[in-house]
Amino acid sequence: MIEHSVDVAVIGGGPAGLAAAVSAKEHGADQIVVIERNSWLGGILQQCIHDGFGVEETGKSLTGPEYAEHYINMALQRNIQIMLETMVIELKGNREIVAVNSNGLHNIKAKSVILAMGCRERTRWNTMIPGTRPSGIYTAGVAQSFINLQNIMVGRKVVIVGSGDVGLIMARRMKLEGAEVVAVIEILPHPSGLLRNVVQCLEDYDIPLLLNHTVTNIEGKERVERVTISRVDKNMKPISGTEKQIECDTILLSLGLIPENELSRMAKVEINDRTGAPSVNQELETNIPGIFACGNCLHVHDTVDMLSIEAKKAGKSAAEYITNADRKQYETVIHVVPGKGVRYVVPQRINMHGKTELMLRAKKPMEPATLQVTANNKVLLIKKLLCATPSSMIKVDIVVSREVFVSRDVLEVKLIG
């Protein structure tokens, strides 16, 4: 075992890990290591060759690799140690990491750990899409990696199942590469991805988006030959008699993203039911002191800009955890829970009074909507929103007074249509 001792260990060299590492350095942490399982930094950004990254953060519309380069350069300039092609295979609650690469096994003792493992794509079986099991079925992200990183075309006549952002981007990408994109099938009454992607990737290219539809059968003995789709009712059950067959040789799945937290679970980090990801406080610290979480392993973000901003906060907190001996540890914790109309809210815990930023997601679209934060029926905040949709994360600052804080009342966050 090769022994290492560092101030901050960051698991994952994608956008969240890089932004967190840079920020930790800027806030006084000295020895920082970023552990990345692939042979490159920047994570999934390197296969996102379309533009639109960095608009909120820099005012410029960059491609994924350009955006990544910016943070990679910052990390390298700040002498942040990078371990590539290195897989973390164990994380312990005492902030020891076991990782493996071609040099051997590594035992990394860290004063603080930042979880930035990102997310993975939901598969066909997570949603139990029935039929045969031929070739030609890819998750949208895997198809994107073949096309943009390995110069390999995955199909000619495509049906996209699910309207997540990666699926929408891939609809356009396939079309630009000469494939026929027959339709995007979405079981919900609204698209899952951002509105701008619906317009720029589907409408601009005349690709039909079939809402309230689901795939009821995949056919094909060796390669995909066709899919059967059906309209669904209010309970998302297929309506018989509405079946329609579509000939295709390829199916791309964009069924949503799952935060990667096998390592978090291994370290006994508390996992929130709603997000399937660590519960954190306002400083993005998990229930285990010194272990922080950020990026898509904490909750799936709409844009990399928002993700980087959050990751910098985790980096700052991780640095302060080790540099600030006076860092106050409050005994009191108040819980933040999603109420009516809210799918989840981050952070789930607040252990300090004062200003806190809440990030939340709506359960379904509302126009207009009222955001309400209450503590034991006392209203802390009311904010009118022009609209609320599940595809757009809502950020709001609240001020928790000392009085509310000591009362330990649960904060409930609601969206009312």
Partner: protein
């Protein structure tokens, strides 16, 4: 001498030689595979009281040695012997039935589904159950039929082999091989190794420390070994069956691009020749830019 072990197609083989005196009723069984993360839930096989009407065991819960839990199988008589699809109705009902036995089974832990076709000698109307037939044909000497070997055919396989050998020995002289290898050398995989074993392996070859399948902790070397196998694994599925890369919860989301890279870079396989499983199950349709480097 012909030993007919054609399963659901055993009648077709007999029909090539004589008029079959039986029918085969294909009966599909679907299974769900659950994430290893829930292996702690079930430590032994759990069976319901078998349903009387179907001639099957009923949906049971099977922990595997690798840690995945299997739910199933269903039992559904079908007309087309090769129709090995999985259906929504069955997938939903398997989970529901299994949850009646173990209510703690999570809804979102399914990582795969598959099905197989039983070769039944009795129709649903006739109770769906008949004994195995292990016999030499009366009309065609030298045709040894193993008919209707459905569940528990796997469990019974060693006994069926003995019985078949006895029949064959009555027809020709059999001599036991003195050099027959009864056991197979199976290399320990990375995920089963101790810290010391891992360190030693990586010292020998760095590729033994490069993990390409995150879910099952399969190394680049293990994928290379699967592809260098004397039997020549050349498809994604054959790599998966040999080293488990792609068997996990992400369903190949992380390892597939790595395996394809290894296939083309280390083994010089043309991407147009890479298949999922069968001869026409091509994975790709060409290059994005011909002549460009990946």
């Amino acid at each position: 001498m012909v030993v007919n072990t054609a399963g659901v197609f055993c009648r077709d083989i007999v029909a090539m030689l004589e008029e079959p005196d039986f029918n085969v009723y294909p009966c599909r069984g679907e299974y769900l595979v659950l994430d290893k993360a829930y292996s702690w839930l079930v430590r032994s096989m759990i069976y319901p009281v078998p349903p009387k009407h179907m001639g099957v065991l009923g949906v049971h819960i099977t922990p595997t040695v690798e840690g995945n839990i299997l739910l199933g199988p269903s039992a559904e008589f079908i007309t087309e012997a090769e129709d090995a699809r999985t259906t929504k109705e069955m997938m939903v009902s398997l989970l529901k039935n299994a949850k009646e036995i173990v209510p703690a089974l999570p809804d979102n832990a399914v990582i795969n589904a598959y099905s197989g076709i039983r070769s039944k000698l009795a129709s649903a109307e006739n109770g769906g159950w008949a004994d195995f037939r292990i016999e030499e044909s009366r009309n065609t000497p030298g045709l040894i039929n193993l008919l209707g070997i459905e569940s528990p055919g796997l469990t019974a396989a060693p006994a069926i082999a003995k019985e078949s050998t006895r029949i064959i020995a009555g027809l020709i002289e059999l001599k036991e091989k003195s050099n027959f290898k009864l056991s197979r050398n199976r290399a320990k995989c990375f995920s089963e190794m101790s810290e010391n074993e891992r360190t030693k392996m990586i010292e020998k070859d760095g590729r033994c420390g490069r993990i390409v399948c995150r879910c099952e902790q399969v190394t680049e070397m293990e994928v290379i070994n699967a592809l260098s196998n004397p039997l020549g694994a050349r498809t994604l599925s054959s790599v998966k069956y040999r080293c488990r890369a792609g068997m996990g919860r992400c369903h190949g989301g992380f390892c597939t691009p790595h395996i394809i890279r290894i296939m083309k870079d280390n083994f010089g396989i043309d991407i147009m020749d890479i298949k999922l499983k069968s001869p026409n199950s091509r994975l790709f349709t060409g290059r994005i830019r011909e002549g460009a480097q990946a």
